[in-house]
């Protein structure tokens, strides 16, 4: 644990070393998020409500997804690169170290640009989502559980590269889950909606946590915590099985 903490400290210091780049990237991400707010404001200004979603609910959804995804993609940045690391030999350097490989890989890199998402998500919640102590506690719980679902899913699809030898599934899984989590889940129906609660768990990254903040139900709470546990377990299991059959690419790169 001490080594993992030290690795994370080094990754944060690395990201912070170039201050101007750090702040520029943070600002760029904040600007990106503001454009999405503008889109939703314009959209709901034109159409009113859609499938029970209005501007306020979507802003809460946006706050939830930017916070949860920002934590994962900012602090555990390699979660989205597991597949690429396996295919490009990035794993080799990590295997030689006396630390557990998956936690080390996850904390090895910090992306400042996504930390801008975290700051933005918290700011959006405070400004536009009617914060009260109870809602704030649910927001923290929801964002944490959503982040666990996301990191579990990303490691899971990235680890498929152990078996397929290609990283495209991981790249596509990342793009799909982030995109689908950014839209109200109720616009979908049938098989697509079922997919968002199972194979691509976008609903558990944003919609279910956002629903919890507005209206707590035992069912949603159990489902969210259960989904987080299942995806983390699947990720750890798949990575562990995969690493046993891993053979080096004989490339020595920075993880």
């Amino acid at each position: 644990m001490k080594a993992i903490r030290a690795t994370m400290r080094a990754a944060v210091t690395d990201a912070w070393a170039n201050r101007s780049a750090f702040w520029t990237q943070l600002a760029a991400m904040a600007l990106n998020d503001i454009v999405w707010i503008l889109f939703w404001v314009l959209f709901f200004g034109k159409v009113g409500t859609v499938a029970g979603w209005d501007r306020t609910r979507v802003l809460l959804l946006l706050a939830m997804v930017t916070t949860g995804a920002g934590v994962v993609l900012g602090l555990l940045s390699n979660a989205r690169r597991i597949g690429q690391l396996l295919v490009n030999g990035g794993l080799d350097a990590a295997l030689a170290l006396p630390v557990r490989t998956l936690p080390y890989l996850l904390v090895r890199r910090v992306d400042a640009v996504n930390l801008g998402d975290v700051a933005f998500g918290i700011g959006l919640f405070l400004v536009a989502c009617h914060p009260t102590p109870e809602r704030a506690a649910l927001y923290v719980l929801g964002a944490t559980a959503g982040a666990l679902v996301l990191v579990g899913f990303l490691v899971l699809v990235g680890s498929l590269a152990f078996f397929t030898g290609r990283s495209e599934a991981g790249d596509l899984g990342f793009q799909a889950v982030i995109l689908l989590a950014s839209y109200p889940v109720d616009i979908f129906s049938g098989a697509t909606k079922a997919l968002l609660y199972t194979a691509i768990p976008a609903a558990f990254v944003s919609a279910v946590p956002a629903r919890l903040v507005d209206h707590v139900t035992v069912g949603d709470l159990v489902a969210l915590i259960g989904a987080a546990a299942v995806f983390v377990a699947l990720a750890v299991g798949t990575f562990s099985i995969g690493i046993r059959r891993y053979t080096s690419n004989s490339l020595w790169t920075r993880a």
Partner: protein, 262 residues
């Protein structure tokens, strides 16, 4: 310096062939496109149904075709092209291009256009099939035929504008953040996320006079069944302006470029 008529077709063809030989990359691009376009069209279709069947003059069927084509025009390009070109300039790698007896920016645009063609073709076919299956036949087949050259012009306009912006790296040495801002301008003012008719009037007026509409809105509007061939002329006009801008920026930048080492 040889004329563009000599090297441009060769650059386009060879880049297109190289891109077509990467089926894995094409499959990921196509799958990503299908997801993004399907999500956007579903959102707008749902909104249309709960809004009396028409939004900003578009029916659900029209909006479905609109978003599949708008997304195809944008997804065909590498979203980080500005960053990549800017990095090549900042690192001095662009100096290698200057050794060729051809325009640096012309060659880069031609190569990137060739690289986009297989992606554009795959996305357009998949988008048309999905739009047809989900919502029905295209609103007006004649307009859909016009949308095909509009897609090509949209990609060219986008590439020319991206190179004009990336050329700023000759002076500022870093165009990394610019692609982020540029992409958002295409999303909103280029009407990839929302048709310009659905924007508030003041924003609609701004979008109309900017080149971003040529990059997503024009092919999308045509695919939505509006027989408006004048939109192709608008694209050609902006393409000329944007190409001149890109060439001017690169010419000025190349004159002041200093590369140390190699």
């Amino acid at each position: 310096m040889t004329t563009a008529r000599t090297w441009a077709p060769v650059a386009v063809r060879s880049a297109a062939r190289r891109a077509a030989r990467d089926p894995g990359g094409l499959a990921v691009s196509a799958a990503f496109y299908a997801i993004v376009a399907s999500v956007l069209s579903t959102l707008w279709r749902t909104a249309t149904h709960s809004h009396g069947g028409v939004i900003a003059g578009y029916t659900a069927v029209q909006l479905t075709w609109y978003f599949y084509f708008a997304e195809a025009a944008v997804t065909a390009l590498n979203p980080r092209q500005i960053e990549i070109t800017g990095d090549d300039i900042a690192s001095g790698a662009v100096a290698v291009d200057m050794l060729r007896p051809a325009s640096v920016v012309g060659m880069r645009i031609a190569t990137e256009f060739g690289r986009c063609l297989p992606r554009l073709g795959v996305c357009t076919v998949i988008g048309s099939v999905l739009a047809w299956l989900i919502s029905g036949a295209p609103p007006r087949p004649v307009a859909l035929l016009l949308a095909v050259p509009a897609l090509l012009l949209a990609v060219l306009c986008n590439l020319a504008a991206q190179h004009a912006v990336a050329g700023s790296a000759f002076w500022v040495r870093d165009a990394r953040s610019a692609w982020f801002l540029y992409q958002k301008l295409v999303f909103l003012l280029g009407a990839m996320l929302i048709p310009i008719e659905a924007l508030p009037l003041w924003l609609h007026r701004i979008a109309e006079v900017l080149p971003f509409v040529t990059m997503a809105y024009v092919p999308a509007r045509l695919a939505a069944g509006h027989v408006e061939p004048q939109l192709l002329l608008l694209q050609l006009g902006w393409l000329a302006v944007l190409m001149v801008a890109a060439v001017t920026v690169f010419d000025a930048g190349e004159r002041r470029l200093q590369v140390v080492g190699g």
